[in-house]
């Protein structure tokens, strides 16, 4: 029986491959959405992950640097600065702004960099630090707008010159542009205020202990360790997309199940006479059920495998042709979805299994 199943699958290899490819595409929808949200979530925390500050001090009640506004008052800055265990503290200017020609702008986060040179980016071309009037742009963003080092770029209402191109600083919703702190203060008319404080701990002081002390010293701030803020910003992005990814996975599964059911049904329907012969020769119900399970299992497994390979290919193709979409495929979700697809395929096998078990051996005499 198994040998017959194997031979039949080989004879029908184009239909099997077609069904597997359709399933793979249905899964790919969910995997791609998941990879996009993961890619964005990872990039949303890019500034934080590149920074070596131990603690970030934000406005009271704020727990995200992304998609929220924060302002730290002078009183709060004074209170935080008086805490034991601080090696260094810097006022951060970090604001969203429109970048590019009018009518074709992109949203970007502008970071004012300190004179003490705390670099939080890798340079692809040009100067490693922005000079006055210069901006360091993410390389994909510059390419998108047809710009290079030395070209002018509009940030808010002011024109800057591109001093360098950076790597690891780009995503659709959160590209990071670095300018000098003085330029940033001027651009946002921020005086000497601070959107947030970057705090470095003295040797021997842990980030958690330091953030606890700052929170105890002032009621007007929310001090978070870098790890806490990374988690918070990443979770925000995943919360926005998580439900949609789950939904698309379910719909993808439904479509995949229908495709498997149809492919298996057609497969069995075409071989009714052969199956009747096999049944007449005494094949057991168990072996016939195993045959149905194997057929659908092969289609489902192939579909899962194609989807896993497809997401890798898609990742490479997007990096090459659509670099503005940051994708981060996750092996875990690929394995889980492929596994669930296999399960769904086996459930879909109930349709042909029912057919198999009800084959009338007299069918063999039908012309």
């Amino acid at each position: 029986m198994l040998h017959w199943t194997y031979k039949s699958l080989l004879a029908d290899r184009f239909a099997v491959l077609g069904a597997a490819a359709s399933i793979a595409l249905a899964l790919l929808l969910a995997l791609y959405l998941d990879a996009v949200f993961r890619g964005e979530a990872a990039q949303i925390a890019a500034f934080l992950e590149h920074s070596d500050a131990d603690v970030f001090v934000l406005q009271k009640g704020v727990a995200n640097l992304h998609m929220s506004s924060t302002r730290v008052t002078e009183n709060a800055i004074a209170a935080a600065g008086g805490v034991d265990g601080i090696a260094r503290m810097r006022r951060l200017v970090y604001r969203p702004a429109l970048v590019g020609p009018r009518g074709g702008e992109r949203l970007a986060y502008i970071v004012g960099t300190g004179a003490d040179g705390d670099r939080a980016w890798e340079i692809e071309a040009g100067a490693p630090q922005p000079a006055a009037g210069e901006a360091l742009l993410p390389a994909p963003m510059a390419r998108q707008q047809g710009l290079g080092v030395g070209d002018p770029v509009r940030i808010k209402e002011r024109e800057f010159v591109i001093g360098g191109l950076t790597r690891g600083t780009f995503s659709m919703a959160n590209p990071l542009i670095y300018i000098t702190e003085a330029d940033a203060r001027d651009l946002f008319e921020e005086g000497d205020g601070a959107d947030a404080l970057l705090v470095w701990a003295q040797p021997g002081t842990g980030p958690a202990a330091l953030s606890g002390r700052i929170n105890a010293a002032s009621d007007d701030v929310a001090a978070l360790t870098r790890a806490e803020l990374v988690t918070s910003d990443t979770q925000l992005a995943l919360d926005m997309g998580g439900a949609l990814v789950g939904l698309m996975s379910t719909i993808g599964m439904l479509v995949a199940a229908l495709i498997v059911a149809f492919a298996s049904y057609s497969f069995v329907a075409r071989r009714m006479r052969e199956l009747a012969v096999i049944k007449a020769l005494g094949a057991t119900r168990a072996s016939m059920l195993a045959s149905a399970a194997l057929q659908t299992g092969v289609i489902g497994a192939l579909g899962g495998g194609f989807a896993a390979a497809g997401i890798v290919v898609l990742d490479a193709a997007l990096a090459l042709w659509v670099p503005e979409v940051a994708v981060k495929p996750a092996l875990g979700i690929t394995v889980v979805l492929s596994g669930v697809t296999l399960l769904v395929a086996e459930l879909a096998a109930l349709v042909p299994a029912w057919q198999l078990l009800n084959v009338d051996p007299a069918e063999v005499f039908n012309a």
Partner: protein, 376 residues
């Protein structure tokens, strides 16, 4: 071919039903992604387009409403009200904040308003006229499981939900509305540096013209009176926000649609391949009678069209069901699957995919040996 399709329904109802269901599901996927794209962009435009004003003053150089924070000079209202032809000017303040409830956070726009520019339609409860009260967009409230009477905390400031509104949702910028009393109380409790030059409380100004005043003549006068602002009509702002969303999300959404169309094409290829396999003898007869590859291709595409056309009504219903599930799963995403533009575009592209997919088994037919008709 029609007769053949009818026979298939009559003699192989399970197979025909399954085939229709499979292609309907694939078509419904196409409609769902087209609808999602359309819904996201429509939601981005909806609230700014609905602002009750002739013009909206926005920070100079910023042509958008919800995309980018705007800051106008604190005394901008007086300057605008002094312009000849202006009947009224109403302030709006918008702050991006995160709404957090256990296990879920959503970035929202907290909007303070005086008497205009509040929730477009309050469908339950009342407007937020008392301190520490807030009106949430209904879809945002549903997403967080909130209802009237519940308390929320924004920037550690507790407020009671007193109303639910429609027309102010989107996946990325759903709105919550408060009075200026509430906003001031919130900001004072946060000890923010109010009154400093670099912290204006004025984000936008809604401007109404006196009856009979030429709007286009008024615009340059407004721009001259408040040079730190640009003046847009609500419709322009809505269109700009929509265009920005299309630019930002375009590549992702187009790729999703493209994958859905590829699924439709491949699925149709699979269905037609199964039909060809099942009807090899009939095709063999046609070939023996001298059918050319072009005629075989016509037979295949006619079959594809029949399956696709039969699948359209269930596909529309299934797409509507998918959209309903999307709305229940995450109410901030709406899929406008029955919008005429979405239907025509989605179905047209789905049918093109079906036609292309339907030709996939053509090679098998062209290479078919007519003597097959005598086998068995």
């Amino acid at each position: 071919m029609l007769l053949w399709a009818w026979r298939q329904w009559r003699y192989e109802p399970v197979r025909a039903t399954l085939a229709t269901a499979v292609f309907a599901a694939a078509l419904a996927l196409c409609l769902l992604f087209e609808g999602l794209r359309s819904g996201i962009l429509a939601d981005l435009a909806a609230f700014p387009s609905s602002l009750p004003a002739d013009f909206v003053a926005v920070e100079r150089g910023n042509d958008y409403f919800a995309i980018m924070p705007s800051q106008l000079p604190q005394r901008g209202r007086e300057q605008v009200e002094a312009v000849a032809g202006v009947a009224w000017a109403a302030p709006l303040t918008m702050i991006p904040v995160i709404l957090r409830t256990p296990g879920l956070r959503t970035p929202i726009q907290l909007q303070a308003y005086e008497d205009r520019g509040g929730p477009p339609r309050v469908v339950a409860g009342i407007e937020p006229d008392e301190e520490r009260t807030v009106v949430l967009d209904q879809r945002l409230a549903r997403r967080h499981g909130l209802s009237i009477g519940d308390e929320i905390s924004i920037l550690d400031y507790r407020m009671r939900v007193v109303g639910l509104a429609t027309g102010a949702a989107s996946p990325f910028t759903p709105y919550a509305f408060v009075s200026y009393d509430t906003l001031l109380s919130l900001l004072l409790e946060s000890n923010l540096p109010l009154g400093l030059d670099d912290y204006s409380l004025l984000s936008f100004l809604l401007v109404g013209a006196k009856p009979g005043v030429d709007r286009e003549a008024l615009r340059p006068r407004l721009a001259a009176a408040l040079p730190d602002a640009d003046f847009h009509t609500p419709a322009e702002l809505g269109a700009n926000d929509r265009a920005f969303g299309a630019r930002l999300l375009g590549p992702v959404l187009w790729l999703l649609s493209a994958v859905a169309w590829a699924i439709a094409g491949l699925t149709m290829g699979l269905l037609r391949f199964a039909d060809v396999q099942a009807g090899l003898r009939q095709f063999g007869i046609q070939k023996a009678l001298g059918a050319t590859p072009l005629q075989l291709a016509a037979a295949l595409t006619t079959g594809s069209l029949i399956v696709a056309c039969i699948a359209i009504p269930p596909a529309m219903l299934l797409a509507r069901a998918f959209a309903e599930v999307v709305a229940r799963w995450n109410p901030l995403y709406s899929a406008l699957v029955w919008e005429p533009g979405v239907l025509s575009r989605g179905l047209a592209l789905g049918l093109v995919s079906a036609l292309i997919g339907g030709l996939l088994p053509l090679r098998r037919l062209v290479r078919l040996d007519p003597s097959l008709v005598f086998s068995r």
